[in-house]
């Protein structure tokens, strides 16, 4: 299954609606990077509101995607991480230190705009 990536002006919007498995995650990483390359987007919002489970591999992939996108000149914000997911990640010792986060899509877009203006 592929995760749809929507383009909105300079931004890419991704809403992940299913629980990610390893294959989908890798596929998503490739898709996103090629989309950034093609569209020249400067900001990416990945919305995780409907994701109930994130394991250590998925967390690593997400962290990697953020770093990779940053290398390609696109800032990434993760939004809508559920409390239970956050607690699991912290328990697993995954802090996603260099990743920007926001409460919801709206806040995420505001944050992106602020960062890009700076």
């Amino acid at each position: 299954m592929r995760i749809p990536i929507l383009k909105l002006h300079n931004y890419l919007l991704i809403s992940i609606q299913t629980d990610l498995d390893d294959k989908t995650a890798i596929q998503f990483q490739e898709d996103l990077l090629s989309k950034i390359h093609k569209s020249g987007a400067t900001g990416v919002v990945i919305d995780l509101t409907s994701v109930d489970i994130i394991d250590s591999f998925i967390a690593k992939v997400l962290g990697d995607v953020v770093t990779m996108s940053d290398l390609m000149g696109a800032k990434v914000v993760l939004t809508g991480i559920q409390p239970a997911v956050a607690m699991t990640l912290i328990d697993l010792g995954i802090h996603l230190k260099d990743v920007q986060t926001a409460l919801d899509l709206e806040q995420g877009l505001i944050k992106l705009r602020q960062e890009l203006e700076e």
């Binding site: 939004t79 409390p83 956050a86 607690m87 996603l96 986060t101 409460l103």
Partner: protein, 317 residues
């Protein structure tokens, strides 16, 4: 378990003891002893009162007034006898124990009292019997135990039941109080923490914090640790974890209320709190939170300034 307890020359009586309950011949003997005790209740009560009063001065009941102690003793002994007469647990016993629990009488008063009753009764029965051999003795002991033990069990159950009830209520109350979240302003929420933090509470704090941030859509959360007496590595670890989790869900956490001694312990323990903002007081933290959400406190012009500007304008004319 069948056991021959008593064999006399004229007739053979076999006591069958099943789970501590006396049957057949035992019943007759039981009734006999029972009537001895009930018919001589006055003497037993007198002895019992003396026995109970002996304990009075050196323990818990010494604070209780003489009259109250007397009347409670009377009531207690009446309850014991009424349950003896009726051969079992009575509603009077329930009422009595409930009353004592509500008044806060110690359980040891009741157990001591019943033990004294057991001693007095056994002594009395033995002094009434013509011949005392080991068979007779064990029979009397068994019988008196059968009267007293159910009463003790009942009372202990009532007491421990009431304690367990209180403990469970308090646990719920404590949980409700342990991690409150106050939405003071749009997008700003405060969690004041008071008292020691252990692992269980830390978990509750984190859950409440994250749920609350989502619920109130808070951009900034202030964790106020003014009321936390000791911050050791474990507490700091829990707070750091909570702050990290808050960051993951897309909000910011400010730790406020760091007292000088806590700052010293944190540094001496080598805990790194550099990653998230800290402030010494809630007030400063709140101001920082306002700045983060692009707001500030504006002081309205006071009356003094009003007068000054009035004077200025007068001078200018």
């Amino acid at each position: 378990m069948a056991k021959i307890l008593h064999v006399s020359d004229k007739h053979v009586t076999i006591y069958i003891k099943i789970r501590g309950k006396m049957q057949h011949g035992g019943k007759r003997m039981d009734k006999h002893l029972n009537s001895i005790v009930i018919n001589n209740s006055d003497t037993i009560v007198k002895d019992w009162l003396v026995e109970v009063s002996k304990n009075r001065h050196n323990d818990y009941t010494s604070a209780i007034s003489e009259d109250l102690f007397e009347s409670t003793n009377r009531e207690f002994v009446n309850v014991i006898f009424s349950s003896l007469e009726k051969q079992g647990i009575t509603s009077e016993l329930d009422d009595f124990s409930e009353k004592l629990i509500n008044l806060g009488w110690p359980l040891s008063y009741l157990t001591d009292g019943l033990q004294a009753f057991r001693r007095v009764t056994i002594n009395f029965i033995l002094s009434q019997s013509e011949k005392v051999d080991s068979d007779h003795l064990s029979k009397v002991l068994d019988m008196v135990d059968n009267w007293v033990d159910p009463i003790i069990n009942q009372l202990v159950n009532e007491y421990s039941g009431s304690w367990e009830h209180i403990v469970s209520l308090q646990r719920v109350a404590l949980q409700e109080l342990s991690a409150p979240l106050i939405p003071v302003m749009e997008n700003i929420t405060i969690m004041p923490l008071i008292g020691t933090i252990d692992t269980e509470r830390a978990k509750l704090i984190m859950e409440n914090l994250l749920e609350g941030v989502i619920k109130h859509n808070a951009d900034v959360v202030l964790i106020d640790i003014t009321g936390v007496p000791v911050v050791d590595t474990m507490v700091a670890h829990h707070i750091i974890q909570a702050a990290e989790a808050v960051r993951l869900i897309g909000s910011t956490c400010i730790l406020v209320g760091i007292r000088p001694e806590i700052a010293q312990t944190i540094v001496n323990l080598g805990i790194d709190l550099g990653k998230f903002p800290t402030k010494s007081s809630l007030r400063k933290g709140f101001q920082a939170a306002l700045e983060m959400t692009n707001r500030k406190i504006v002081h309205e012009k006071g009356s003094d300034e009003g007068i000054e500007s009035l004077l200025d304008s007068l001078n200018g004319e």
